[in-house]
């Protein structure tokens, strides 16, 4: 294994799926066009799609259509089936494609999948992974650009992970598949092509552990998914002004590693949260509330949240650029808390 081995985040996820399908014959993959070409009369149609970002392409050739299945466009049907299958011996990875489609299978997800274990008095488990693309920045408009992870983090019984690097994506996907609970695995569209070091062998990044992506002692910035890039680059820029920014990537939103965040705020005394999800009842408010309780006595400035406005995602690039948090807005927020 070479330290230089680089993969995109998409390829890293595919590698984890491949490893786990090889390792455990109860792991299956299902979703709309996850293979592609179902029902085609062409001999070479196999694997002509592989999901919207091609992640599951190539798996059918190796594992066969019994274990990787194209579904009709019936999200309640096939995600419910994934949950039922998980309760009865399989470990399905179900592709919801875009997280924006959660409104169709939501009952199966939150009233069935998330609650079965509890309602059954602990006598069942539901080891499902639901993969979905999140986030804006590709002008896909209001119904294909949302984040929505705050909703899943809100629901007891669900776990939610949001990787921001190829390394974490592979390790978290491996952990998610091996996990015995229902895990949402959310892939930011604008990170799928980003490259980074990924070891060839299989490894696990545990759920519920945040990562300090950059150390600093003046201000803590917690940022999620694509927002991490803004935070890191804002931090680099502010270095020149003598501001040392600590950047934390929670990686898991549920369970949340509150300890790492609170420890950091206790050190820095200042907190900015950057969340691409809409501002009400989101992860930014969740983390702010945590700090306003647990790290209150260390706080030296108001807690600032950088988020989109309380609006749907607009289509036009001119509007979407104004919608998604920018590095400028992150820098401004950091300056504000530093000036306080």
């Amino acid at each position: 294994m070479s330290e230089e081995r680089e993969l995109t985040m998409g390829a890293a996820i595919r590698e984890a799926l491949h490893h786990e399908m090889e390792r455990d014959s109860t792991v299956i993959v299902m979703g709309e066009d996850v293979v592609g070409g179902a029902g085609s009369k062409l001999p070479d149609a196999e694997d002509c799609w592989g999901g919207p970002f091609g992640i599951t392409g190539g798996l059918a050739g190796k594992f066969g259509r019994n274990r990787i299945r194209d579904t009709p466009i019936s999200e309640a049907g096939f995600i419910g089936a994934a949950i039922g299958a998980a309760a009865t011996g399989l470990r399905p990875v179900a592709a919801l494609m875009f997280v924006d489609f959660f409104g169709i299978p939501m009952d199966q997800i939150f009233n069935q999948g998330a609650k079965i274990r509890y309602m059954f008095g602990g006598k069942a488990k539901v080891p499902v992974v639901i993969r979905a693309a999140i986030g804006g920045g590709i002008n896909a408009a209001a119904q294909h650009s949302q984040c929505l992870y705050s909703i899943f983090a809100h629901i007891p019984g669900l776990k939610v992970v949001v990787p921001s690097t190829p390394y974490d994506a592979k390790g978290l996907m491996t952990a998610a598949i091996r996990d015995d609970d229902l895990v949402f695995f959310l892939e930011h569209k604008r990170l799928m092509g980003s490259k980074g070091h990924v070891p060839e062998e299989s490894y696990v990044v545990p759920l519920g552990e945040a990562l300090v992506r950059r150390e600093g002692d003046d201000v803590t910035v917690v940022a999620i998914a694509k927002m991490i890039d803004l935070a890191l680059s804002a931090a680099d820029g502010l270095e020149a002004e003598g501001v040392n920014v600590e950047v934390i990537d929670p990686r898991s939103l549920s369970p949340l590693d509150g300890r790492t965040i609170v420890d950091s705020v206790e050190k820095t005394g200042r907190l900015v949260i950057v969340d691409e999800d809409t501002p009400r009842c989101n992860l930014a408010t969740d983390i702010a509330a945590l700090a306003a309780d647990e790290a209150f006595y260390s706080l030296e400035a108001p807690i600032k949240r950088v988020t989109p406005p309380h609006t749907p995602v607009p289509f036009s690039p001119a509007l979407e650029n104004a919608y998604i948090p920018s590095e400028d807005r992150v820098v401004t927020a950091i300056r504000e808390v530093m000036a306080a």
């Binding site: 019936s74 419910g80 039922g84 399989l90 009952d107």
Partner: protein, 326 residues
Amino acid sequence: MEIPKEKLLEIYERMATIRQFEERVREEFAANRIPGFVHLYAGEEAVAVGVCAHLTDEDMITSTHRGHGHCIAKGVDVKAMMAELYGRATGVCKGKGGSMHIADLDRGMLGANGIVGGGIPLACGAALSAQVLGKDNVAVSFFGDGGANEGSFHEGLNLAGVWQLPAVFVAENNGWAESTSSDYSVAGADIAGRARAYGMRGEVVDGLDLFDVYEKAGKAIAAARAGEGPTLLECKTYRFYGHHEGDKQGYRSQEEVEEYRKNHCVIKNFRARTTDERALTDEELDEIETRVSESIESAVAYAADSPWPEPSDVTEDVYVDYKEVL
């Protein structure tokens, strides 16, 4: 379809258990000893029992808000069920589920369900497990006439059709969804006929006749086991009590209910037919009734004597493992 004597006795015992269980739950509920909502299955016993008579513990079923009958038909312990209704720590779900969420995977019971139509996709999943793993198990989903109007019905049946899952879908058409008639809510008023939309076998069953249910369910389940794909059965049946306890039933007449109790009681009719045909004797059946009545009695005593769950148990069993810090 010839039913062996042993099976007939077992069937009678299951039906009698459901009936007596429900009558007793009704009293316990009226006496405020059972909290929450209850929806009684009395009158519909032939459906659950006629279907589940063909299933093993490894075959899975999904059920509804009106789930006691399915649980008993599938072999869930009535003591643990009663304790669950009482909300006790000894309940089959440790008091966490209650009437609408009784489940027991060891008996192949994948849960009653508070969400109308909620169990259909889950049953497809259980059937998928059998198919992927190459087992010859089947999954059966019970749901009501009202449930046949949910999107989950359509998505689940279509998926089962596409993948030719080893599944049987059992619509229990008791004529009503709460106070709404199935003649009103099911456009076309023909649930069995909806099977055609999925290239699936569909059949109307006399749900008030154990023998008709037993035969048609037997064929559907055998076909599913043999890899011949799914079937939709519409069992016409009748519920003796209101939608839930407390329902004043202004939508149907008391005479109608009486008529059903008198002339379409599945237990009476089963008894009449099996004794007429001399397959079973009144003595054998009376003995069963007595045994059942004792078992219900002791289930109630067990429930009433059982401890409440500890308050600290409230946060157990959410996840297999949840590493939250702070």
